[in-house]
Amino acid sequence: MMSFSAMAPEIWIAIGVLAVVGFEALRSRLPGDFLKTAIPATALLALALALIEALFWNGASQGVFYDGSLVIDAFSRVFVAAACLGALIILFYSVADMERHGLGGGEYHALVLTATLGVVVIITAANLLVLYLGLELLSLSLYTLISIDRERIPAAEAAMKYFFLGAIASGVLLYGLSLLYGLSGTLSIAGLSVDLMAMGSGTMLAWVAAVFVLVALSFKFGAAPFHMWVPDVYEGAPTPITLFVATLPELASIALFVRLLSSGLAPLVRDWSAMLVGIAVLSLLVGNLGALFQTNFKRLLAYSAIGHVGFILLGIATGTLRGEVAAVYYTLVYVLMTAVAFGLLLALRARGQDIEAIDDLAGLGQSQPWWSLLMLFAMFSLAGVPPFVGFWAKLAVLRALLSAGFPPVAIFAVLMAVIGAFYYLRVVKIMYFDRTDRPRATGNFWNVPNLILSLNGLALFILGLVPSALWGLCAWAIRH
């Protein structure tokens, strides 16, 4: 039994995938109303069970399982739980919207589940091949999800772009991993770090391998100069899919960095730290300056994502545990904030307000007071202004930078944050300052997704008042 329980979340999600696909295969024989309830219910149930399994992994089962394939430690517990919870929330926000566009069938649910499975596999991977497997599972699901609306030309374009660049990145990663395997003779991430340590850093081949790995991971995370796909995908994909692309893969990316770079390639820290600082600084520049000129709201959030990735990577680049904690904390906070922003776009769409350009938000403060207040929370939180939780994420990274001896980088980062504040303020301005005479929206408001969205928005404020909860959890996840 022990052997199954170690991969219980994966198993539940896989069962969910099979069940959803099965329902879809029997579509012609089953009543439509039944399918309409059964498919989402199955997906939610599978994720909920996986979440419960992740939460109740007992401490005794820590360690490496299945011939060194999967590892269960504090990090995988926290992040598998976060991924399952995130996928649940995403489904809650998006299903109604997908159904309204006739896309809410089995394919969507199955792909969301396989992508989540990919994220979970990446998080628990103890072995280079398993890691790669998880990454490909995630990426292939994403390519398909982005183009799920076949009629939508921009989505198809974005998916193609993402696919070609992503395939190259995967190849680059695989090449880097094969070099590492050639160097050390092991596929185990922990063993890799031991072998590299024994060789001592500075061998040319190890450095080349680190460069390949770093480039591929930066691409997956959407860091500059490998960010080209991010704005197109964010803009081109249907909004529910953008919500997915902007949140869950970020958890996978940070897990890749934590597992592969901070653990596996830890002995080469001196080689990759400087490169990563460069990538992070460039991402801060590209993200924050690029966002200044956007008129499309999703594109704005895409550039903002690049800027935030810059902050996250700075935490990793310090090469310290403290920096790792900061990066992980920042990622969770970022996912929380982004989920609010895109969740609000979906909630507004449900009430007949399709937000494409930023200017479409005009007068929202009047017509949708509650949603615009939550959007204000999200914007100030993304800008890093207290009392919202985004401030603490930035503080964590700054603290790591200062203690690791990077004060100039810290100062550069805060100055970029000031530039970033400008475009977040612009969103607030359009919602509140531009007076329109839109009437206050009425109608049925309180349903389950909206309640979750409201709690999600309020969490930005509450976690800002009590930052130690989530931050402490991340510290526990990394240090144990």
Partner: protein, 503 residues
């Protein structure tokens, strides 16, 4: 000394009141106004209660609350006040009551939100004045920008968007560098306790960097020349209430920051930069005085006059490093006390002036000096009050404006008579621009039909202006209550500022 979370009440009662006002369902205007007023009055009463139970013979922190906040950072929810912060707490709660009264009928667009923003901001400002933890200080310091940004942007004048962005980004830019300095200090000291920061020995090189980071934050807020340009824009475009809080409280935060952080944490760097600080203060006093002289917009004129007065404050603080002769510490103390008193007085007087301009603006919707003339003939009571506040702004003996300026000039003499002379020149320039404003607006022939038809003050405007006139007069004749409260704390601060932390 009393136990109990009184300072927490001062912070969170207004915040909670503001949040309640944001909830939907405040359809009845009388109900929401009364609710906002009740919350602000309750907070004001609490601050007075705290004031009456304040022990003024000690420089130690009082009403201390300390709860672990972020345990692994050693950051605490640590509050406490001394004689320097107490007057500002009372000023904050008092100003908020006035702002709510002043917005009673004038604000008709989203009134509940307007009151909510002021109440939430009041809570955060109280937090700044009572925070004893570096992170908590920064938390409140930044948080209060959000309501002010919204107040200027939603309820402001025609160029409100430009002004609100300039306000936010200027102050944000200043503050983030302070954040870096605070985190650095936190790493070095091992906790974020401001009092531990004050005790920690630091080399001159480190102190200089820290001082510069703080200076950027506080100089923008004060504001000091040459980073003052956001202020006239923000003041002009903000609604009356926003201008009042900006002038009365927010500007004081910068100077408060010098007292709470710069001088005690980096005393040697403060000494190092004191010459520069004095020079910037004198430029603000003299040059900005002339700038004020040529303004045609009443609010802009008062905004520039605020910069001049804050120049006195920083002059009083930083002249203490140049004291010579027999009474060095006495002169230094007098300069600091004068500076703080000037802050309190300016808080009252500038609030009153902005409210007076607001009274005129609400009637004719113009801030141009040229629109008015002969107001005293039509609105005699208002004219008298406006002139009274203008006199206080000039520093007429018998008003609160005199006390602080006189102390600063007197103590600066001990440092350098020429500086003192330069500062005293302002009494002439200041009288110039203020009295000329009075001549053109209040006196003279009635300018136009619009002015001749002006209705007199209603009871609410009377109440607001009179309740400001009383403290201005009382503190002018009898400054002892404020002086006594801050004496011990100022003496302690001067000792800290004159000590060295190198070594």
């Amino acid at each position: 000394m009393t136990h109990g979370p009184w300072l927490s009440f001062l912070i969170w009662i207004p915040v909670l009141g503001g949040v309640l006002l944001l909830l939907p369902g405040w359809k009845n205007p009388i109900l929401r106004r009364s609710f906002a007023l009740t919350v602000s009055l309750l907070t004001f009463a609490l601050s007075l209660w705290v004031g009456f139970h304040f022990e003024d013979r000690t420089a130690a922190m009082q009403f201390v609350e300390r709860v672990p906040w972020i345990p692994f950072l050693h950051a605490n929810y640590h509050l406490g006040i001394d004689g320097i912060s107490l007057p500002f707490l009372v000023l904050t709660t008092f100003s908020t009551v006035l702002v709510i009264l002043a917005g009673w009928r004038i604000i008709d667009y989203r009134q509940a939100g307007y009151f909510a923003a002021f109440l939430i901001m009041e809570g955060f400002m109280n937090g700044v004045f009572s925070a004893l933890d570096g992170l908590l200080f920064y938390f409140f310091w930044e948080a209060m920008l959000i309501p002010m940004f919204l107040i200027i942007g939603i309820w402001g004048g025609p160029r409100r968007i430009y002004a609100s962005f300039k306000f936010f980004l200027y102050t944000f830019l200043g503050s983030v560098l302070m954040l870096v300095a605070l985190i650095y200090l936190g790493q070095r000291v091992g906790s974020y306790d401001l009092l531990a920061f004050q005790r920690a020995p630091l080399g001159l090189g480190v102190q200089i960097w820290i001082f510069i980071a703080f200076l950027v934050a506080f100089a923008v807020k004060v504001p000091m020349w040459p980073v003052h340009t956001w202020l006239p824009d923000a003041h002009v475009e903000a609604p009356t209430g926003g201008s009042v809080i900006l002038a009365a409280i927010m500007l004081k935060m910068g100077a408060y920051g010098f007292l709470r952080l710069s001088l005690p944490i980096a005393p040697d760097a403060s000494r190092y930069f004191a010459g520069l600080m004095v020079a910037l203060s004198l430029v603000a006093i003299l040059y900005i005085g002339f700038v004020a002289l040529v303004q045609t917009d009443m609010k802009k004129l008062i905004a520039y006059s605020s910069i001049v007065h804050m120049g006195f404050v920083t002059l009083g603080f930083f002249a203490l490093y140049f004291m010579m002769g027999a009474f060095t510490t006495e002169a230094a103390r007098m300069g600091v006390e004068g500076g703080i008193f000037q802050m309190i007085s300016h808080g009252l007087v500038s609030a009153a002036l902005f409210l007076s301009v607001g009274v005129l603006y609400d009637r004719l919707h113009s801030r141009e000096i040229g629109t008015y003339g002969g107001v005293a003939k039509v609105m005699p009571a208002f004219g008298a009050l406006f002139v009274f506040f203008a006199m206080a702004n000039v520093g007429l003996p018998g008003t609160s404006g005199f006390v602080g300026e006189f102390q600063v000039i007197l103590s600066t003499w001990q440092a350098n008579p020429w500086w003192s002379l330069g500062a005293a020149l302002n009494l002439i320039i200041g009288a110039g621009f203020t009295l000329w404003l009075m001549k053109r607006v209040v006196f003279g022939p009635v300018q136009s039909g619009a002015v001749s038809g002006l209705p007199g003050l209603d009871w609410r405007e009377r109440l607001v202006l009179f309740s400001l006139a009383v403290p201005v007069l009382v503190l002018g004749l009898w400054p002892a209550p404020v002086m006594n409260v801050m004496r011990a704390s100022v003496a302690h601060l001067v000792r800290q500022a004159l000590a060295t932390k190198i070594g």
